[in-house]
C-alpha cells in the first residue's frame, strides 16, 4: 500500500475533480478562489475562461445537457457567486446535473462583512439540490464526492460547494492533510428510489390496456433517465400517441407517426387537444408545469393519470394521479413493457384505432402554419428556422434563448434525436443560448451547434463569443433580429390593447455584424429571403471560429398556437388562418352537447311525468 498523499485543500480539490472524471471546468478566477487556480495550471483538466460568471454557469448546463455528464463551474466569492445564482436557479428548475465551486473568504472572516463576502450557501439554499460550506480542508474530497453523487443521481440538479480561502491556501499549514478518496459517499438521508413496486406497474399497465384515448405526456425526466429508446418501444407497443414537452423535445422522434409534437402554451394544436380529450394521461418524467396545463381545473378533464417521476414530491403537486409511480423513467418503462406481456400483450388492449384517426384528423386540419414574407418584407422567423433545420446536419445540437425565437425553434425544428435540443424551460433565462451552446460544443466538439438567439437575449450574454473565439469553440449563432422584445410585444398586442411599452431595441444599434467581428467571429447579415440558403450554407462551412448570422426578421410576427396565461387549453388559439374553422367546430360541438343535454333533460322530465301519471 502506498503512503497517503499529503496535499493542501487546493491540490485536493483539483485531484478530486480529476478523480470524478471532470474534463472541463468553466470558470473565472478572483480573490478567494485564487489559491485553487495555482495547482490548476498542472491539472489534467481543461479550464475555459469565461467573460462573466453567468456564462460559466450556463456553459456548465449546456455541457451537461449535451453530454449527460455533470457540468462543472468554478468562480470566486461575493459578486462572482451572486453572478452565478441565475444559472443555479436555471439548473434547479430544469434538473440539470451541475457542480458549482465558489471561493469564500477565510473562515475567520466569515460574518464580518469582509471584502467580497456574501452568504453564498444562504443565498443559494433554495436554488440548489444541496449546498455545502466546507469548514475543514480534509473534508474537501468527501464533499466533492458527495456533490457529484447528489448532482447526478435521483432527480439531477445543481450542487454548490463553498470553500473558504484559508482551507486552500498553500501557505497555511492547517490546509494540509493526508488525501483520502471515499469511494462511497456517506449520505444517510439520501436514497432515491429508482425501481418502482410491481403493484403500481401492474396498475399502470392495466389502465393503459383499458384506455380508449391514451396520451403519453413525456417530459425532461425521460431524457435525464436516458430513456428515449425504451420510450419508443413502449409507445410503439401500444401505438400510443406521444407529446414531448419543451424539456423533452427529441426524446421521441418528431417524424414518428405517433408524435404529436409539443403541448402547452405554444404547443401544437393536436398535442394540446389530444391531452384535453384523452381518457388516460401517462405523465412520464413531466411535472404538470403551468405552461403545459394552462388552467389546471380544466386540464385534461376526462383523463385518469399515471404519473411516473423519480421525485415523489411531484406526485399530486399539481394533479392527483390515479397511479403514482415513484422511480426512474427508463426502469419504469422497461418494467411496463414486461408487464404488458404479462397482461396479455397488445392483443389485450382496447382498440384505439378510432382515437388514432381522430388525432390524425386534427393533425391534418391544424398543422403548424405561417404566412411567408411578402415581396420586400423582411424574413419570417419560422422560415429561417426551417431553412436552418434543412441545411444543417441531422444531429445538429440546437440551443435557444427565451422568447418567440425559442418557441419557433421548438415548433419548427424537427427533433429526431435525443439531446439535440437545449433550452431554459423552467426559469426562462434570457441570454441562455450562447453560453449553453459553448458548453454543449465543448462537450461535443464533433457536432454542429447552433444557438438560436433573439436580439434581446444576444445583448445579455454576447460577450461569451469572445470566450468561444479564444478557446476555439466554434459555435454558430442565428440572431433573429426583429428589433423588438418579441414575446413581450405579442402579449402587449394581445392583452394590453396594442399599447406597446419598452419593447423597441433598435434595428441597427448595435451593429451586430461589427460587434460579432470584433469578438473574433465570422459575421453575416441576411434581410432578403432569397439570400437565406446561401448564407446558411456559408455559415455551416466555417469551422475555425464562431459564426454569427443576423437574420433580419419582421417585427410583428406572433407565435401560434397560443393558450393565454391562465386560460383553458380547450380555448387554445390557432394561426389566424385556421381560427375561423376551429371556432365553427367548437360552436357546433357546443351546440350538439347542448342538444344532448336538453334531450336528456327532456327524457328526465318524461320519466317524471310518467311517474306522476301512474
Amino acid at each position: 500500500m502506498t503512503a497517503p498523499e499529503r496535499l493542501n485543500g487546493a491540490q485536493a480539490l483539483i485531484k478530486s475533480l480529476e478523480l470524478e472524471g471532470v474534463e472541463v471546468v468553466f470558470g473565472y478566477p478572483g480573490g478567494a478562489i485564487l489559491p485553487v487556480y495555482d495547482p490548476l495550471i498542472d491539472a489534467k483538466l481543461r479550464h475555459v475562461l469565461v467573460r462573466h460568471e453567468q456564462g460559466a454557469g450556463h456553459m456548465a448546463e449546456g455541457y451537461a445537457h449535451a453530454t449527460g455528464k455533470p457540468g462543472v463551474c468554478m468562480v470566486t466569492s461575493g459578486p462572482a457567486a451572486t453572478n452565478i445564482v441565475t444559472p443555479l436557479a436555471d439548473a434547479m428548475l430544469d434538473s440539470v446535473p451541475m457542480v458549482c465551486i465558489t471561493g469564500q473568504v477565510s473562515l475567520s472572516a466569515i460574518g464580518t462583512d469582509a471584502f467580497q463576502e456574501c452568504d453564498t450557501t444562504g443565498i443559494t439554499r433554495s436554488i440548489t439540490k444541496h449546498n455545502y460550506l466546507v469548514t475543514r480542508a480534509e473534508d474537501i474530497p468527501g464533499v466533492i464526492r458527495e456533490a457529484f453523487h447528489l448532482a447526478t443521481t435521483g432527480r439531477p440538479g445543481p450542487v454548490l460547494v463553498d470553500i473558504p480561502k484559508n482551507l486552500v491556501d498553500a501557505n497555511n499549514p492547517e490546509a494540509y492533510f493526508d488525501f483520502v478518496w471515499p469511494e462511497v459517499p456517506e449520505l444517510p438521508g439520501y436514497n432515491p428510489i429508482l425501481t418502482p413496486g410491481d403493484e403500481v406497474i401492474a396498475d399502470a399497465v392495466t389502465l393503459m390496456l383499458q384506455a380508449e384515448r391514451p396520451v403519453l405526456y413525456v417530459g425532461g425526466g425521460v431524457l435525464k433517465a436516458r430513456g428515449a429508446a425504451v420510450l419508443l418501444e413502449l409507445a410503439e407497443l401500444l401505438s400510443m400517441p406521444v407529446v414531448t414537452t419543451l424539456m423533452a423535445r427529441g426524446a421521441f422522434p418528431d417524424s414518428h407517426e405517433l408524435c404529436l409534437g409539443m403541448p402547452g402554451m405554444h404547443g401544437q394544436f393536436t398535442a394540446i387537444n389530444a391531452i384535453q380529450e384523452s381518457d388516460l394521461l401517462i405523465a412520464m418524467g413531466s411535472r404538470f408545469d403551468d405552461r403545459v396545463t394552462g388552467k389546471v381545473s380544466t386540464f385534461a378533464p376526462h383523463a385518469k393519470v399515471i404519473h411516473v417521476d423519480i421525485d415523489p414530491a411531484e406526485h399530486g403537486k399539481v394533479r392527483v394521479p390515479q397511479v403514482a409511480v415513484a422511480g426512474d423513467c427508463r426502469i419504469s418503462m422497461e418494467l411496463m413493457i414486461k408487464e404488458i406481456a404479462k397482461q396479455g400483450g397488445p392483443e389485450n388492449q382496447v382498440d384505439i384505432t378510432p382515437w388514432r384517426q381522430q388525432v390524425s384528423g386534427w393533425q391534418e386540419k391544424y398543422p403548424l402554419t405561417y404566412q411567408q414574407s411578402k415581396a420586400g418584407e423582411l424574413l419570417k422567423p419560422q422560415h429561417v428556422i426551417e431553412r436552418l433545420r434543412d441545411l444543417s446536419p441531422e444531429d445538429t445540437i440546437v440551443c435557444s434563448g427565451v422568447g418567440q425565437h425559442q418557441m419557433f425553434t421548438s415548433q419548427y425544428w424537427k427533433f429526431d434525436h435525443p439531446y439535440t435540443w437545449i433550452n431554459s424551460g423552467g426559469l426562462g433565462t434570457m441570454g441562455f443560448s450562447i453560453p449553453a451552446a459553448i458548453g454543449a460544443k465543448a462537450g461535443m466538439p464533433n457536432r454542429m451547434v447552433w444557438a438560436v438567439d433573439g436580439d434581446g437575449c444576444f445583448q445579455m450574454t454576447a460577450q461569451e463569443l469572445i470566450t468561444a473565439a479564444i478557446e476555439k469553440i466554434p459555435i454558430k449563432v442565428a440572431l433573429m433580429n426583429n428589433s423588438n422584445l418579441g414575446m413581450v410585444r405579442q402579449w402587449q398586442e394581445m392583452f394590453y390593447g396594442e399599447r406597446f411599452s419598452e419593447i423597441h431595441l433598435g434595428r441597427d444599434l448595435p451593429n451586430y455584424v461589427m460587434w460579432a467581428e470584433s469578438m473574433g467571429c465570422a459575421a453575416f447579415r441576411v434581410d432578403d429571403p432569397s439570400e437565406l440558403d446561401e448564407v446558411i450554407e456559408a455559415a455551416n462551412a466555417i469551422n475555425d471560429r464562431p459564426v454569427v448570422v443576423e437574420f433580419r426578421c419582421v417585427e410583428d410576427e406572433n407565435v401560434f398556437p397560443m393558450v393565454s396565461a391562465g386560460a383553458s387549453n380547450s380555448d387554445a388559439l390557432v394561426d389566424p388562418s385556421q381560427q375561423a374553422m376551429l371556432d365553427a367546430e367548437r360552436a357546433a360541438k357546443a351546440e350538439s352537447s347542448r342538444q344532448t343535454a336538453s334531450a336528456s333533460a327532456d327524457s328526465v322530465l318524461a320519466d317524471s311525468n310518467e311517474g306522476v301519471s301512474s
Binding site: T121, G122, R125, S126, K129, H130, L133, T135, L150, L187, P188, G189, Y190, N191, D311, P312, A313, H315, G316, K317
Partner: protein, 175 residues
C-alpha cells in the same frame, strides 16, 4: 382562543446534526407560506443526529407536499407525521408570576391543580418563577389561569411528541 388546535400537524424529523440544517427546514416551510406554530430542536442519544419537532397549521393536502419537500432535504433522514389523536405530547413552560398576600392561597391552589414546580420564590417582592409541564392544551389553560394573578414573563418550549404506545404513524425513511 385555543392555541393548540387539534387540526395542527406535528412533524417529527430526524436530521443530520450539521450546521444549517434547521435553516434548511424552516426556510422550506416559510417559502411555501406556512406558519410554524412551535419548533423544538435537540440532539439525540446518537450525536450524529438531531430531532426537530415542528407543529404547523396546514390543511391535509399541502401538508403532504410539505412533508415530501422536507424529505427531499439531503440532511433529513426520517419524518414521522403524528396526528394529535395518536400522540403523547408535552411542552414545558417557565413563568414569572406576581401575586399579593391576599391571593397567594388562590395561586397555590391553581398550582396544585397542575403539575407545577416553584423554582424561585421572592416573598418580599410577591413574585415567583414556576415551571409547568403538560400537554399544550393544559399549558394554555394554566397560562390563562395564571393571567388572573399577573404573568410578568413567560417562555414555552414548544411541543415535543411521541406516538402513543401501540399506535403506528406514517414514517418516511431514507433507508
Amino acid at each position: 382562543m385555543n392555541r393548540t388546535d387539534l387540526q395542527h400537524h406535528t412533524l417529527i424529523l430526524l436530521v443530520e446534526n450539521r450546521a444549517g440544517v434547521l435553516a434548511r427546514v424552516t426556510d422550506l416551510i416559510a417559502r411555501r407560506g406556512y406558519n410554524i406554530i412551535s419548533l423544538a430542536v435537540a440532539p439525540t442519544n446518537d450525536e450524529r443526529f438531531s430531532r426537530i419537532t415542528i407543529v404547523v397549521n396546514v390543511d391535509l393536502a399541502p401538508m403532504e407536499q410539505i412533508v415530501k419537500q422536507l424529505f427531499k432535504l439531503i440532511n433529513v433522514i426520517e419524518i414521522a407525521e403524528v396526528p394529535a389523536s395518536d400522540a403523547v405530547s408535552r411542552e414545558l413552560m417557565l413563568a414569572k408570576v406576581s401575586f399579593t398576600a391576599d391571593n397567594l392561597s388562590d395561586l397555590e391552589s391553581v398550582m396544585a391543580g397542575a403539575s407545577v414546580h416553584v423554582l424561585e420564590l421572592e416573598r418580599s417582592k410577591d413574585r415567583l418563577i414556576l415551571s409547568a409541564g403538560g400537554s399544550s392544551a393544559n399549558i394554555d389553560e394554566l397560562e390563562d389561569q395564571l393571567g388572573v394573578f399577573g404573568i410578568m414573563d413567560v417562555q414555552r418550549t414548544g411541543q415535543i411528541a411521541l406516538p402513543q404506545l401501540g399506535h403506528s404513524v406514517p414514517i418516511m425513511r431514507a433507508r
